[in-house]
């Protein structure tokens, strides 16, 4: 140990243990595949349609217009989808995080094809990324789990970092994490893919072949030290399951929407998704369904009343506002006041609602906000109109 090392011992982690380089434990000894570039090993699997993936069948399906619109698309064929998932050396992000496994999957005719590009030495990361870029040569739509903010920007970073030929094109991305968060909002503790598999797809992974995602970076580092790829088999398996689960999950989401099988989903959120993507009729029908079974669903009342208002259906809108004021909903007082004043010209009633709004606001807030001042103006105006 030299002087500098001795000095810095306190701020250094544990010293690297002496490792033996394993023989005959390289990835090609353990997994079927082929090298497609220096240190880039390709594992290809083909699954026939109807293949059973942990309890769920792999089938080709239509993509529901809501999912397409939500992801910025008009139409898409199942064969345009490219399911992607990457494994990296860190979760912190930044240029020191390397990608060592890129898994992609797509439907082609009667098969689902899964290709996993595995990097056996980070020195050739550039070639790995270029393999991926080659897969992108035709118009594709990514399907990912948090790929919008993680996988795709990371692949992009790696292409710049490695000065790759070609760029990662910014295709549309159906991000199933974002969609799942909406579909099962407030119904799951965590929105990890594994938890969704368990709770939503009702399947579990078999433990011995899998590896928890958090252990993957260190497993890869240890592989670099020992050249023993046994644990990398688990990582490759993990990545494969992730991609297959993405296909199943997307199918499940489609089915819910097509069959309107709204048991066990956050229906209000789906209604809002429809609304945000301008499927107004569907949104109305969902909010009406919600209120049919629960007339005091305040968020649904609010959303629906504003749809009615926009559609100039004041009769229905005002009925909902009258329902809402039973729960002291501030906005409803105001809407009623506006409605009575401008549509019905019933200033006395408008004044009544305005005063109620003021009272409801004063109960909650000490300060006179701009809103309260606006209300006071309305009150004055109405008083003038009455007298």
């Amino acid at each position: 140990m030299n002087d500098i090392e001795a000095l810095l011992k306190g701020v250094l982690p544990n010293k690297k243990k002496k490792t033996r380089i394993s023989k005959n434990k390289e990835i090609h000894n353990l997994v079927k595949g082929k090298y497609v570039a220096e240190n880039v090993f390709l594992i290809e699997n083909k699954f026939e349609i109807n293949y059973k993936h942990i309890g769920n069948k792999l089938i080709k399906y239509q993509i529901h217009p809501l999912i397409l619109n939500y992801s910025g698309l008009d139409k898409a064929n199942i064969e345009d989808l490219l399911f992607i998932d990457t494994e990296t050396t860190g979760l912190a992000g930044g240029t020191g995080t390397y990608v060592f496994l890129i898994g992609i999957g797509f439907f082609k005719e009667e098969e689902f094809i899964l290709r996993q590009y595995f990097l056996t030495d980070i020195v050739n990361e550039k070639l790995l990324i270029e393999q991926f870029i080659n897969e992108l040569n035709k118009e594709k739509i990514y399907v990912s789990f948090n790929g919008k903010s993680y996988d795709v920007p990371l692949l992009n970073t790696r292409s710049i970092f490695n000065r790759c030929k070609g760029r990662i094109t910014e295709h549309a991305n159906i991000d199933l994490l974002h969609i799942s968060r909406r579909f099962w909002r407030e119904m799951l503790e965590t929105y990890s893919l594994q938890n969704i598999e368990q709770k939503i797809l009702k399947t579990g992974r078999t433990g011995e072949l899998d590896i928890p995602g958090s252990e993957i970076p260190d497993a890869y580092f240890s592989y670099l030290n020992t050249r023993n790829a046994s644990i990398m088999k688990n990582v490759i398996y993990h990545n494969k399951l992730d991609i297959l689960s993405l296909t199943i999950l997307l199918e499940k989401i489609n089915k819910i929407l097509f069959l309107k099988n709204y048991k066990n989903v956050n229906l209000f959120e789906i209604g809002r998704l429809y609304l945000q993507n301008e499927h107004v009729a569907q949104a109305i029908s969902i909010f009406e369904d919600i209120l049919e079974s629960d007339i005091s669903h305040l968020s649904a009342i609010k959303e629906l009343s504003f749809i009615y208002k926009r559609n100039k259906n004041f009769e229905k809108a005002s009925a909902l506002w009258l329902e809402a004021v039973k729960h002291n909903e501030y906005y409803a007082y105001i809407e009623l006041a506006k409605w009575e004043e401008h549509k019905n010209k019933n200033y006395t009633k408008a004044l009544e609602w305005t005063e109620k709004a003021l009272n409801s606001k004063y109960e909650e807030y000490i300060y006179e906000s701009e809103e309260v001042n606006k209300l006071k103006h309305r009150k004055k105006r109405l008083e003038r109109l009455i007298h």
Partner: protein, 828 residues
């Protein structure tokens, strides 16, 4: 003197101890160089800038010739223009040009960005992106800035933490990076500077990766070693532009010494009260005054006293860290426009925030360094008008020394800025970051770090499994984000939010929260008093209520050391030296309530706050009993606690009774605790106990007056003198800033030895190896101390050697020389 009489009344005039006048200086003007684009020249001419100052022309020429440049002209001499013009020219010629501007504070960043935006929008047609990228930038804005900013305004911390580790997001920016502008570069000294030098190494490395080789433009306050320092910081040759061509009016430098109010005790009127008095006088004369004061509390005290003395209280404002940044911007604006006439500030305004030239700068007490004093004084000065720089001396030894030796302040070179980019602890961290940013290729360099040293570090990182080598490349190999592991600034602690009835009124940093906003503390904010009702440590919230009080609070704290693990020790000549891990505990034990104006103590309160513990490394040495015996024999040892004799208790009681338990200086009557009995002529100066304890030499004083009186008669101990020497020389051996280490003298060290000696430790939690280095330099340090104290022309001591001597006290020069001799000689 005619000007002088015009502005001050005689009550002030008679206390002016030093008055130096710098004659007005004419501007040295030059034409705009002809290679500049016509529209740039015309633009500035239209704005009333018809000619350039000579230093601006020099700087623009140097920058135009692709030279790295550092500009050190005075405050308000148009430093920014020196880089604004060449960068604007570049932008116009090549709209792809990118430049990064690094400012030490967010406030400065805002200020400069606004200026640039104005220039660019007014005459560059191309679409030029200008953005601030710092902790306050909202994430949706970040994406736009990354893609499209030509001019990026940020700070070193953000560069380190957010930009360099994500350089691929800034790909185009780095490809076209032409200029790196570093403003107020003198801030980057000590540990902060050593970190920053490494961030620059990383920046250059990433720029090179994208094929660019940016030019550095620096601005700095005057430093005695500016060339050496900046060369070391950016590791490039630089052109130094220091000949200031801007005009100045006549400047008056004044040291004001508050009058003695008690001859017998030698007590002077308080500097703060005098500062208020002078500031009020200046306020009446309608000039614009900036008052500097060291602590945040003193700023608030001056502000509230001053407001009681003036009618238009809105024209008197405070300024310090802890105010909300929006409030600070507002105050700056109002001061610039003249709506605020008197601003009372901590050194938060010392940095180059543009507030224009002022009529008067008034400093309450010496700020502790020549460089800071000059920086603060530099705020005064308008062309064509006389300006005044007034230092109000406090009763501190150093201040009183300056009154007698103004040349120390005015003629000496300011302190040097020192850095050590190769400090192993700092270097290791940044090499981890650099490795994270990009692999090292065999033979690649890291700044001026010798290749073999770099290789050693990279090997260490591999040995500890943080790096991986393959094909002549070394890669980062850990699942972490190393930039997160360090903060460039030593005071990276969190902040407490100050809440008054759900309203956030300000912030206070974690280190100060305990003594500034402890429960029941009176917290003063913009001159208003608040009472702290709760210090919520886990949630970092201070709850306050607005309340007018007739008192303010002052904490009482103590520092303890505890040995955690002794790493090295050795018996050496006359001493034993130690190095080890220690725990430094600062405890705020209680506080006292003191009446406004009179400072009379109204009562005490106990506090049960968790101690603030810093685990760090220290070097200490104890002086052997044998040496102490010899020194005592020669009457050159005065570190032993005074033994006032067995009868002291009854004598003291007699004196208190005689004085009717009334403080003989301020007239306060004792309330809870007994008052102190003070020796008018210091005890140590008497040959016998009896003589010292004669009733005529004793007097009853309240604790606060007692402290004041002691200061005037302070008998410095040899050890305190030695500590003072170590404090000033140690930074030179380890290239750190004064505040990066702490030096204490103690008559009983208590770290595995009960002997007297010195304790020196790293200020930073965890340490960065400074103390260990000093442990190894024991003899060198002593020898250097000896050379300095022996070669010093002073009689008994001065700030340049063992420390200043009290007005009526005795210095420790002789004692220190004797102690060092014993610690260096083979045989006594």
């Amino acid at each position: 003197m005619a000007e002088n009489e015009m502005i001050f009344d005689s009550s002030i005039l008679q206390n002016i101890a030093v008055h130096k006048i710098h004659k007005a200086k004419q501007a040295k003007l030059s034409d705009f160089p002809s290679y500049l684009n016509d529209n740039i020249i015309n633009y500035f001419k239209q704005k009333g800038i018809k000619k350039l100052y000579s230093h601006q022309l020099q700087a623009i020429n140097a920058i135009n010739n692709h030279k790295n440049t550092v500009i050190t002209s005075g405050v308000d001499s148009g430093k920014s223009l020196c880089y604004q013009i060449p960068i604007l020219q570049q932008l116009q010629d090549n709209p792809q040009t990118r430049a990064i501007f690094l400012f030490p504070t967010k406030a400065l960043t805002q200020d400069q960005k606004i200026k640039f935006t104005k220039f660019v929008s007014e005459f560059i047609e191309a679409d030029i992106g200008i953005g601030i990228y710092d902790g306050d930038t909202p994430s949706e804005k970040r994406r736009i800035i990354k893609r499209s900013a030509n001019l990026l305004f940020t700070n070193p911390d953000m560069l380190h933490l957010g930009i360099l580790p994500h350089h691929t997001n800034w790909c185009e920016f780095f490809q076209n990076l032409k200029f790196v502008v570093i403003d107020e570069v003198h801030i980057y000294r000590g540990i902060f500077g050593s970190h920053f030098a490494n961030v620059i190494r990383r920046l250059k490395r990433i720029a090179k990766f994208y094929g660019s080789n940016p030019q550095f433009i620096l601005t700095s306050a005057t430093l005695s070693n500016v060339e050496k320092f900046t060369r070391k910081l950016i590791e490039e040759d630089l052109e130094v532009i220091s000949d200031d061509g801007s005009p100045t009016g006549e400047q008056h430098y004044i040291i004001y010494n508050p009058p003695i109010v008690n001859k017998e005790l030698g007590i002077r009127r308080s500097a703060m009260q005098e500062t208020v008095h002078i500031a009020a006088d200046l306020f009446e004369q309608k000039g614009q005054t900036l008052v500097f004061s060291e602590s945040r509390r003193s700023v608030e005290l001056i502000l509230s006293y001053l407001r009681k003395n003036v009618d238009e209280i809105k024209q008197v404002q405070g300024y310090r860290s802890g105010y909300l940044s929006s409030d600070r911007r507002e105050i700056e604006k109002k001061f610039r426009s003249g709506k605020i006439r008197t601003l009372v500030s901590t050194n938060a305004l010392e940095l180059g925030i543009d507030i224009g030239g002022l009529d008067t700068v008034l400093i309450n007490g010496y700020p502790g360094s020549i460089a800071s004093t000059r920086q603060q004084f530099g705020r005064a000065g308008r062309s064509g008008k006389p300006s005044f720089c007034i230092l109000v001396a406090s009763s501190n030894l150093l201040d009183q020394y300056l009154v007698k030796h103004p040349e120390y302040l005015f003629d000496r070179n300011p302190e040097q800025a020192l850095i050590d980019p190769d400090n192993p602890f700092i270097l290791l961290h940044h090499l981890k970051c650099a490795l994270f940013e990009k692999p090292f290729i065999t033979g690649e360099q890291f700044g001026d770090l010798p290749q073999n040293v770099l290789d050693q570090y990279l090997q260490i990182l591999q040995n500890y499994d943080l790096a991986y080598e393959s094909n002549d490349k070394i890669f980062w190999k850990a699942n972490s984000y190393p930039a997160d592991e360090i903060s460039l600034r030593t005071t990276g602690a969190g902040e407490f939010v100050l809440k008054c009835e759900d309203r956030t009124i300000g912030i206070v940093d974690e280190n100060s929260a305990y003594w500034f906003t402890h429960p029941q503390a009176v917290y003063i904010h913009q001159g208003e008093t608040y009472l702290v009702t709760k210090l919520d440590i886990p949630n970092k919230i201070v709850e306050l209520v607005e309340k007018k009080t007739d008192y303010y609070t002052q904490t009482q704290s103590k520092t303890d050391f505890e040995l955690i693990k002794l790493k090295k020790s050795e018996i050496i000549v006359g001493a034993e030296r130690f190095y080890g891990q220690i725990k430094v505990t600062d405890i705020v034990k209680g506080f006292k309530r003191q009446k406004w104006h009179t400072n009379e103590i109204l009562g005490y309160g106990d506090l049960e706050l968790p101690p603030q513990e810093t685990i760090t490394y220290g070097y200490w040495f104890s002086i052997s009993e044998e040496i102490i015996a010899r020194l005592t024999e020669k009457k050159l040892w005065n570190n032993t606690k005074n033994d006032y004799g067995s009868k002291w208790k009854s004598i003291a009681e007699k004196v208190r009774k005689r004085d009717e338990h009334e403080c003989q200086h301020c007239g306060v009557i004792k309330q809870e605790k007994k008052f102190d009995v003070h020796h008018k002529i210091p005890f140590k100066q008497f040959a016998s106990v009896e003589k010292a304890n004669q009733l005529s030499n004793l007097i009853t004083l309240c604790p606060s007056c007692h402290r004041k009186a002691e200061r005037m008669f302070y008998v410095q101990s040899g050890l305190a003198g030695l500590a003072n020497l170590f404090r000033s020389i140690a930074p030179f051996f380890i290239m750190c800033d004064g505040k990066d280490i702490r030096v204490h003298s103690s008559s009983r060290i208590g770290l595995g030895t009960d002997d007297p000696g010195l304790v020196i430790h790293d200020s930073m939690s965890g340490g960065i190896g400074l103390s260990e280095k000093l442990y190894g330099l024991h003899y060198k340090l002593l020898w250097e101390a000896y050379t300095i104290v022996n070669g010093c022309d002073c009689k008994n001591g001065c700030p340049a050697c063992v420390g200043p001597v009290a007005e009526n006290g005795t210095g420790a020069k002789k004692q220190v020389i004797e102690i060092i001799k014993h610690l260096l000689k083979k045989s006594i």
